[in-house]
């Protein structure tokens, strides 16, 4: 058992029994569901929009080389410096290099899951720089020294009282139960950070090949400020974020907003095409775009699961997943949690170490049904299970199936086994849950149904 599996089991057991956590998830996700359904209903044809989104991302990913070359060329033609990073370490090195060369000391950051993926904040802090997360949810979890709980709702696991206590301790603010006041405390604390920051770092929601633009979606205005005030702007973008054409946003922006947060459109959807251009009044003097691979090309090389790169990180599959709802975000121990995290983490961080995530699924398919770009999520969980057992078969499982096959292929022996089962069943039931129970790992959390009085064969025979 890998250490990440051990941690998953321990945390899942603890969180699944936590009533407070259950209440928080229910409140947050019920509100989301109501809003999402209302906005979906406003679409004339949501299903056709999904088909089109899936086909558009398919086209983008299956011609990724051409689109990336176009993107880079267009960005560079307007003065943006484009960097290519094969690994997380290279991306960190590039970004730290830029920061050092600018003699910077303070950095303001807007939400970026790719930055979480490469542990950018730790690297910058270790190098002695002050980094401040500006998205409210991210700021809260940063103050708690925690990773985000959810791709889109980073602080969904916290109550207002916990946040108030945190602000009281870290910022010296007066306690309050009003979300509005708490938001204003953060707004005041962060305003001065924007004005004094030397470097602004952002993530990206889409990279538009045709025009060489980075599209950022946000509600708070923090990314807008991050891209407006500091002298140097850096965007870290996973290379799968590509969209062929600018007009494709007419479809993807509303779909991202509806699937992700139950909004018709997110408050700010902004396209950045370069640093401050001649004649423009403000904006960064330098713009750096870092294109991150970090094993995405390995996922690309698997045609069966290539569509996992279509993901627009809306978080919809997390919201509907019965596993995510019960075990919560931190239990996964990964940057990307929920169904999409379970599918891609084995590719990004190793199949054997992370295969348990693909087994932690009811295979209900709610994720596949909700995905706005139609990623075949629950089938990919099965693909991961198959690949994991094919590359490292379990000796015990193989033997068990061999014995099973041997028995069921011999009717006489099968009949005897059945009779034995019937005789022994009441005895096993008597010791259920004790050390004598031979199937204790199973019965610890589940019921073992009683052996039926009559088998199908017996029933069929008697019927005649």
């Amino acid at each position: 058992m890998s250490s990440s599996f051990q941690q998953f089991l321990t945390d899942a057991t603890r969180v699944a029994g936590d009533i407070r956590h259950r209440g928080l998830m229910q409140t947050a996700l019920r509100k989301y569901e109501v809003a999402r359904d209302r906005k979906k209903a406003a679409f004339s044809d949501w299903e056709s929009a999904r088909d089109a989104a899936a086909e558009t991302k398919w086209e983008a990913i299956n011609h990724l080389d051409e689109h990336l070359e176009n993107l880079a060329q267009k960005l560079e033609s307007r003065g943006t410096k484009v960097h290519w990073a094969s690994t997380a370490a290279q991306a960190r090195e590039i970004i730290l290099g830029i920061i050092k060369s600018k003699g910077a000391c303070s950095i303001i950051k807007s939400k970026a899951m790719t930055a979480e993926e490469i542990h950018l904040n730790e690297a910058m802090e270790k190098a002695g720089y002050e980094v401040v997360e500006s998205d409210l949810g991210e700021y809260i979890v940063q103050l708690r020294h925690e990773p985000p709980y959810h791709i889109v709702f980073p602080a969904m696991h916290l109550t207002r009282d916990q946040i108030s206590e945190l602000f009281e301790k870290e910022l010296g603010s007066a306690p309050t139960r009003e979300p509005e006041e708490l938001t204003m405390i953060a707004r005041r604390a962060l305003r001065s950070k924007y004005i004094t920051a030397d470097i602004g770092i952002t993530g990206a929601n889409f990279a538009i090949a045709e025009t060489g633009m980075i599209s950022i979606t946000e509600n708070e205005g923090n990314a807008r400020l991050t891209a407006a005030l500091p002298k140097t702007m850096i965007t870290l973008v996973g290379l799968e974020k590509i969209l062929p054409k600018m007009e494709d946003l007419a479809l993807f922006l509303p779909m991202l907003a509806t699937a992700g947060a139950g909004q018709a459109l997110t408050c700010y959807n902004t396209m950045y095409g370069g640093p401050r251009q001649p004649g423009e009044v403000d904006g960064p003097e330098e713009y750096h775009v870092v294109l991150l691979d970090n094993r995405r090309t390995e996922l690309l090389a698997d045609p069966e699961q290539r569509d996992a790169l279509h993901c627009i990180r809306c978080g919809a599959c997390l919201n509907v997943c019965p596993i995510f709802r019960n075990v919560g975000g931190h239990t996964y121990g990964t940057t990307y949690s929920g169904p999409i995290g379970s599918v891609i983490t084995p590719h990004l961080r190793g199949l054997q170490e992370w295969k348990h995530l693909s087994a932690s699924s009811s295979l209900c398919g709610a994720c596949t049904e909700t995905c706005p770009v139609k990623i075949d999520l629950h089938h990919h969980l099965l693909h991961n299970r198959r690949n994991a057992s094919a590359s490292r078969p379990s000796f015990f499982e193989r033997k068990a199936y061999q014995v099973f096959a041997w028995v069921v292929n011999r009717p006489a022996i099968y009949r005897i086994a059945k009779q034995c089962g019937r005789i022994l069943d009441p005895i096993r039931r008597a010791v259920q849950g004790t050390v004598l129970d031979p199937v204790k790992p199973w019965t610890k959390t589940r019921d073992l149904p009683p052996m039926p009085e009559q088998s199908f064969k017996e029933w069929h025979r008697n019927r005649k």
Partner: protein
């Protein structure tokens, strides 16, 4: 070989093996219900934007009510001036930030307040202290109640997000039905000479990060007013 070539090499190698189309589980029967560009079908699938100006204005109004945008459909530039004067008194504006522009130039001086203009550079701290940022815009999008601004039409990147109140001035002719039309219009208008920032603003800044409860004015403006004549 540099990293760029290495990455592109890995991508080309990976793409030598074809992936099946979306919805195809290896039986060659993909959904393939859609070919072409999404923008062509977007109008049939997405929430509608309206055909006439009246329909579009009604949609913009409905979206604004939900978003808590203060949208006012007015009849003349005099009405814009009087609305602005009333807002100024009501909100107690002391300093106003704006930029040189066809509409702002006609309206802002009538307020008789100290004005900070972002054109040709500005002091960020002074801009932060202004009570309102008054800007023009490129387009209004009926479908979503969005205002499309660029750093050219709205006095830079910060003016529309830094002050606590953002006030947008627009003419009725700037209304377009939907995002698809808006993006196509922007592409036609700017050709290859794009402003370095193009932003759809849909309501005042907001967050739901604390117990999913809506709070306005997270980092950007708490109020968004759109005056159209």
């Amino acid at each position: 070989m540099n990293e760029r070539e290495k990455i592109l090499g890995r991508i080309r190698e990976a793409l030598k093996v074809k992936a099946s189309r979306p919805g195809d589980h290896g039986d060659g029967q993909g959904t393939a219900r859609f070919t072409g560009r999404p923008v062509e079908g977007a109008r049939d699938w997405l929430p509608p934007g309206g055909d006439t100006f009246e329909e579009q204005a009604a949609r913009f109004q409905t979206a604004s009510t939900e978003l808590k945008t203060d949208f006012r459909l007015l009849n003349s530039i005099e009405e814009v001036r009087s609305n602005l004067a009333a807002l100024s008194t009501e909100c107690g504006w002391k300093t106003v930030a704006t930029h040189v522009g066809e509409l702002t130039d006609q309206v802002v001086p009538s307020l008789g307040l100290p004005v900070l203009k972002t054109d040709g550079g500005y002091d960020v701290r002074a801009l932060e202290k202004c009570d309102v940022g008054i800007t023009g815009c490129d387009l209004l999008v009926a479908q979503t109640g969005s205002v499309l601004v660029t750093n050219r039409s709205a006095g830079g990147r910060a003016l529309s997000v830094l002050p606590p109140h953002h006030l947008v001035l627009a003419r009725r002719t700037q209304m377009v039905p939907d995002l698809a039309t808006a993006l196509q219009t922007v592409q036609k208008r700017y050709g290859s000479d794009y402003p370095s920032m193009i932003s759809f603003i849909t309501g005042p800044s907001r967050t739901g990060d604390i117990e999913r409860i809506l709070v306005l004015g997270a980092h950007g403006p708490k109020k968004l007013t759109v005056l159209v004549f």
